[in-house]
Structures are given as C-alpha cells and as structure tokens.
Amino acid sequence: MSANHDRSNLLEVRGLTKIFGSLTACDHIDLNIAKGEIHALLGENGAGKSTLVKMLFGSLEPNAGEIFWDGKPVKITSPGVAKKLGIGMVFQHFSLFEALTAAENIALSLNDGSPISTIAAKARALSFSYGLPLDPDSLVGDLSVGERQRIEIIRCLLQTPQLIILDEPTSVLTPQEADKLFETLERLRSEGKSILYISHRLEEVKRICDSATVLRHGKVVGHCNPRQETAASLARMMVGSEVKAVERAPAEGIETAPALLEIRGLTRKPATPFAIPLKNINLTVRAGEVIGIAGVAGNGQGEFFESVSGEVLQQDAGSVRIRGKDVGALSITGRRLMGAAFVPEERLGHGAAPRMKLSENLLLSRHATDGKAFVGSGGMVKNSTVYSAAQRIITAMDVRKSAPDPEAAALSGGNLQKFIVGRELDRKPSVMVVNQPTWGVDAGAAARIRQALIELARSGSAVLVISQDLDELFELSDAIAVMHNGDLSKPLPIAEATFEKIGLLMGGAEPGHAEHSLEMA
C-alpha cells in the first residue's frame, strides 16, 4: 500500500475509512493534494466531507487507511499533531470569545506564552500583508462576521501551516467580502501553500480551485479539474442525478392582495451587550408572494425572527400584525393559532429537540394548533395520530431516515430540515416565516424545500424567507430586502435586484440608496 507516494504531493490519503456503528461515513477515501494548489472537496451534506476533514485534522481516528505527509507516513492522533505537521484549519463555526479582543483570542489558541503585544503586532503585520485588514485590539463582539473570519484565518496563518483547510468559508460573507478572500487564497497559493477548500458553491469552486475531489455517500466518485466542468456537471457528480431547477411562476396581482404579515416600526433594544438592536423595521408581505431578507449573519436576523415569531413579545402590539390583527402581545402559540408558522435557523435545539423522536418533534410546534387532533381529553397525547401525521410528513417531504421514528439528532441536517419545514407546510399556514431554509442542506433537499415554499406562496400564503444565501433568495423571492446592523432596507423587486446592489446593501450602503452607492463604488 505504501507505493508511489509522490514528493510533489503535500498530502496523500490512501483508503481512509471511518465507521460509526453501522454507518461507513468514509469508505476507502483516496485524496492527493499537490503543493501550491487549491483543492476543492465537494459533496452534499452527509457525503463524508466533515468526517474526512476531522480525520485529517486529528479530531477523529480513522478505522483504516494511511496518510502520507510530504511522502512520509504519519498518524494524526490529535489536532495538536496536525498543527505541528503544518495543517491549519478554519472552521465554519468560529470559536471566538466575544468579550476578548482579536489578539487575546489569537493568544489563547497559540498558547505559547508570548506577550499579547507581540502577538498583536505579528497579527497586524500578517493581516495587512495578506490584504485582510484587522485591528487586533478590537473586541470580537464588535466585529462583523467577515472580520471574525479574518481572525480565524490569521490565527491559522500565524502557525505557518503548509496546508490550510477552509470549511465553507464564504457562507458568511457578502459577495464583495468573498472576492477579497479569494485574492488572499490566490496569494497563499502563489507562496506554495496548499489549500483544501470545502464548499458546495460550485461557481466559486470553478473560479478558484485547481482540482477537486467529489464525495458521495462516503465514497470518492471522482477527481476532476473543476475549470473543465460546468456547474451542472459538478452538481450531477455530487448528487448522482440531475437536480431539478426550482420553478417560480410570476406572481400576479400581488399589489392588491391582502397583507397577511405586516411589520410596523418594529424596534427592539439589544438583549445582551453583543446583540443587535432592531431599528424601526417596516415590511409588508402579501398573500401570494415570497419576500426575501438578505444580510450577512449577525446583523439582527435572529433578533428579528424571535420578534416576529413571538418568542420575544413586543411593547407595541401593533408592531407585528398577522392577517390584519395586532399580535405584538401574543405569544408564539397565539401567533400560530392566527395561522402563522415559523422555522428557525438552528435545527437542533431550537426547531427540534435533538433527543426526541420525530413524532414528538411534530408535537413540539403543533400541540396547540392541532390540539384537537393530537391531544385528547385530560391532556393525554394521542400517540398513534401524531405518529401517523409524522409519517405523512416524512412521505410528503421524502425524509430519509434509518428507523421508522428516529430521534431528530439521528437525521442528517438536510433530512431534518425537510421534516421541520414539512411539519409547518402540513398545516397549510397562511403566514410562513423561515430563517435560513436550506442552510447546510444538500442540493436535492434544498430544491425541494424551495419549491415547496414557492408553492405555498402561490396557493395564497405570505412567505418571508431570511437567508444568507443570495443564490437562494434570487431563486425564491419576488422581492428582496436587506438587513444590515438592525436596519431593514426597502424590498427591491426581483426584476430590479442584482447581486451587486444587494451585496452593497449587505455591506452597509445606506438602505434605499442602492443606486447612489453603486455610482460611488
């Protein structure tokens, strides 16, 4: 097995296998990363990307297989070992302390006892030389998500890695910020460093990656040069079949349709020192339309969702209206009974209780709206009715699972999301508010969820979608508004919206003055 390891390859992986119980998450994976290349790792959710990367970074131990670093066999038994070899990782979810400065956060991970001022100076120098300007003395809590990512990248670069693993790095960036990041990555490549780039955004991969390894169901289905492929051919490799394009019939007569969800001057003070205040938000969603809210994560979308859903109540009852009634003082249950349905961003722990079965998770959001059907006399739950309703949703949304009624945590992200969205669609709500409908969801499932949301709107409901994924919003929405720092711009009708205009608004150009800002830029 230890034949042909080429010294021009920085990392070679042969037959790497990881088994969890009955599931083979990674099945004899082969992967070569050459020196000075950007290598894409493609695959749907649950294809085994994270498992593979965790083995490369030493946080999981492989059951079988070999790893060669610079031609020599190595065992990566812990992240510390990976770091010593020269493997750095930038995670999708940052691990930063908001109450500390950027430099202090970096010092914590370096853990080598050098004084903060030295680290700050090094970080500042490095950040400017790579075109990632960062003030090491600023509090993380005050920084945007893009800036926080820079801290993570600089923290990684300070350890002078030869191989940098980036997990979905652009999912939290505006298009303009992503362009900046690509410049940095190309700069690193020109210095001979290798990059393993995990993404499901195929256009990006085509643009910056030199080679790609595609995973499906834990197996390598192909190595290719993404520049010679089309986005459609890459998607086919990932999914194994054609992904149906989402169809959006033009919305007609929207202007005269009744307003089902109205937000009138919604204002909210920050609940914690690092929360975003909501500033006088106004928005109307009419029957039959999908309104999208774009924005970089952490600009108040979470606060906005909580206020609209009724998890947090409003001082002014009229600031949220559902079907013409003031609901600002109603709880989430009260708003559901008015015909509204909600899908939060976090699946596990917010939209669903991880250790509970799917049928119990159905009860979670519908115990009141379907009280007659699901709960009998004396508060006894009608388990069989709930169970068959859950099965109905599972069939309708094509939720793939390993047991008839598994725990929510046992499902892959995409399948759980299909269930959570399906749970609300099953009620045929007249108002549906969804935060990040397809975050971390594979292409096939995402298309299905988006199509379902459009169909709900066209059947006469009002649908509000909050998302960081611009492609998604352009696919779904009849108009897009942008949330930045707790402000919401006026919705731009989809015919007038472009990536540039929305991107500038996401970056903080004054709402309502998109044209003007464009001229400036």
Binding site: T77, V81, L85, I332
Partner: protein
C-alpha cells in the same frame, strides 16, 4: 504530569444504561465490604445482618414499606423537577412544612373529629409543602436566584421552625416539658393497611399511586412532554410556546406537594405527633432514590425499597454489631456516588493526557505523544 479529560462518547450504550444502577449497587457492596472489613467485622456477616435479616419476616416488610413510602413519594416529585432541569434540593424542608400544615387540625383543633379529618390533613399537608416550595420558585423566576442554594437553605429554616413550634406554641402542655405536640386523636391517624400483619399504612399506597400517576403524566401526557422538552432543550421549548417560568412553578409546586404529602403521612401514620425531628433525612435520600431509579417513576419504586432497606440495615447493624447507624448514610452516599459515576461514564470516556509534550520532529514521537487510555 497527567491531565484527565472527559471525552463525550459518540454513542450511548443502551445495555450499560440499563445495567448502570446494578453496577453501581455492586460497586457499593464491594466498597461497603471493605468498610466493614476495616471496622473489624466479617463483611459476609455484616451483609447478612444489613441486607437480608431486616426483610426476612412479614412485619419487617411492613417496616420496609413505612420507610419506602416517603422516599418514593418525594422522589417521584423530584424526578419531574430534575427532568425539567430544575434542581429542587429542598424536599426535606417541604416535607417538614407539609407535616406542620397537616398537623394544624389535630394540634389546634383536637376536638374536630370524623372521617373528614384525614383527607383535610392530607390536603393541608400538600398545600404546606407546595407553599414552601413556591418560595425558591418565586425567587428563581423573579430574581434569577439559584434554586439549588435557596431550596437547600430553606431546609434549615424549616427544621428550626419545627423545633421552635414543638418547644414553644405547639408544645403539649401535659407532656412533662418534652418538646412534642399532643398525640393525634384517633381520627387524625392514618389507618394501617393490614393491622394484623404489620404497621404499614396508607402512605405506601399513596406512594404507589403517585408513582403510576406521574409515570402516566411523563410518558403519555402533553404536560410530561412539556417537562421533557424544556428540560432537554429549553430553546426548543420556548419555540414550542412552553413557558419556562410556568414550568419552574409547576415542578416546584408538584414536588413540594408530594413531599408535603409524605410529611403529613409520616407524622399522622408512623409517628402520631410532631417532634423536633420527624425525618431521618428522607428529603435528601429521595434525591438518591430519584437518580437510582433513573428518574423513571416506576424505577423509583424499586429504588425507594432499596434505600429504605439501607435505613433498616443501619438500625440492624447498630443493634447487632454495635456499629453506628450512620453507616446507613455511608451506604446511601456511596450509592449516589457510584450511580452518578456510572452515568457519567455512559456519556463520557476518560482520557489521560500526558502534559510533557516534547518538541516533535519525527513521526515516531508524534505517535507517542498523546497516550489514550479508555475507561471501561
């Protein structure tokens, strides 16, 4: 230098989740055997006296039921709290207040007799326990105080309040100065179940009924679902529209009422009057019972009988071997320790990590660096 880390297991073993209480019990026996040996007693003899002899005759089983009843009643209430991730540690105080409230009728109105007395006393007992439990609930919801501290500290307040009552205003004027109330009248005494066979009273029936009722609630009813959701994922609970503050009050009032019922049943059944001390620590031992029973009301019935046996065994070794009956406390403590230890090892494995990492150049050293050692 070694560092010990707990690493979360990817999967929980279903087998060991079931075996855990039994393993804990076995480990307790081993440690207990060592303790008896160190005390200079043959462990086998001691075990015979401690665990076998106290339940070898029918009347002794009645004694076991008397001890088990309050433990089970309190523990099923506590299990609801703990499932909701709310930590009522003050059941001992709620037990005492239940006893005090329930005793109002026989102590202050001894002339009131008839079949209504007992139901009223039981009801007042539940009100007393619930009232006393509402204090930490109020403090937690209003001022975000830690309910572990407040409920625990209120236990001592309750104990001293009872002490003052029986030495002061409620002291039996014809009791020769003894700190106790008058003996309860006949209609204020909880009837025995089978007076010919032994002393066990209706308290044990209440315990069984409570266990089945709470089991039904937790497994079949929307309320139980609410408890489980809020306990395991509070944010999902809020999304479901379940109120956390309402849940704090619900669990405290429910567990307080059951502890209060246990208190008045104990006083009106087994004791027959109020004294400075009416509980050998039932409220605290019930915490062990709740966990040993896996927070499952039916498991709690079994666990309650086991812990009741530790009390009887403690008394037995004291009279037979002259060992302090504090040995019962030791057994209870060890049992809780081993139960929690086993439960922790189901969820986590232990990893020992060498701190002396040398500067590594080659692969060989890298491989050797972190030594993994797994606990069972």
């Amino acid at each position: 230098m070694m560092r010990i880390e707990l690493v979360k297991r990817p999967q929980r073993s279903a087998l060991f989740s079931v075996l855990s209480p039994f393993i804990a019990f076995a480990l307790t026996m081993i440690a207990g055997g060592i303790m008896f040996a160190l005390l200079g007693v043959n462990p086998l003899d001691a075990f015979n006296i401690y665990f076998i002899q106290p339940i070898s005759e029918v009347w002794q089983l009645h004694e076991l039921a008397i001890k088990a009843a309050p433990l089970i009643l309190i523990a099923v209430g506590l299990s609801v709290c703990y499932k909701a991730n709310i930590w009522n540690i003050g059941a001992e105080g709620q037990f005492i207040f239940g006893a005090i409230f329930g005793s109002i009728i026989p102590v202050l109105f001894p002339q009131f007799e008839g079949p209504l007395v007992i139901p009223l006393m039981l009801l007042l007992g539940m009100v007393g326990g619930a009232f006393y439990a509402s204090i930490p609930a109020f403090l937690k919801t209003r001022f975000s105080t830690n309910e572990i501290l407040t409920s625990l500290m209120l236990v001592y307040v309750a104990q001293l309040f009872l002490d003052w009552l029986v030495r002061g205003p409620w002291r039996d004027p014809e009791g020769h100065g003894f700190p106790q109330t008058i003996q309860f009248g006949d209609s204020a005494v909880l009837p025995e179940l089978m007076p010919d066979a032994g002393r066990a009273n209706w308290g044990f029936v209440f315990a069984l009924v409570a266990a089945v009722a709470i089991w039904l609630m937790m497994s079949r009813m929307l309320k139980g679902f609410e408890v489980r959701v809020l306990g395991s994922s509070p944010r999902a609970g809020r999304f479901a529209g379940f109120g956390f503050n309402r849940m704090v009050f619900f669990t405290f009032l429910l567990s307080g009422a059951l502890a209060g019922l246990a208190g008045i049943s104990e006083v009106s059944g087994a004791i027959g009057q109020l004294q400075p001390v009416i509980s050998p620590g039932y409220g605290f031992t019930a915490i062990i019972v709740a966990f040993l029973g896996r927070l499952n009301p039916l498991g709690i019935v079994a666990a309650g009988l086991v812990l009741a046996l530790t009390y009887l065994g403690g008394e037995a070794v004291q009279s037979a071997l002259g060992i302090s009956d504090k040995v019962a406390r030791v057994f209870q403590g060890m049992l809780l320790f081993f139960v929690l230890g086993c439960d922790t090892l189901i969820h986590y494995r232990i990893r020992l990590i060498g701190m002396a990492l040398t500067k590594a150049n080659g692969t060989a050293q890298l491989e050797a660096a972190p030594k993994l050692e797994e606990a069972r």
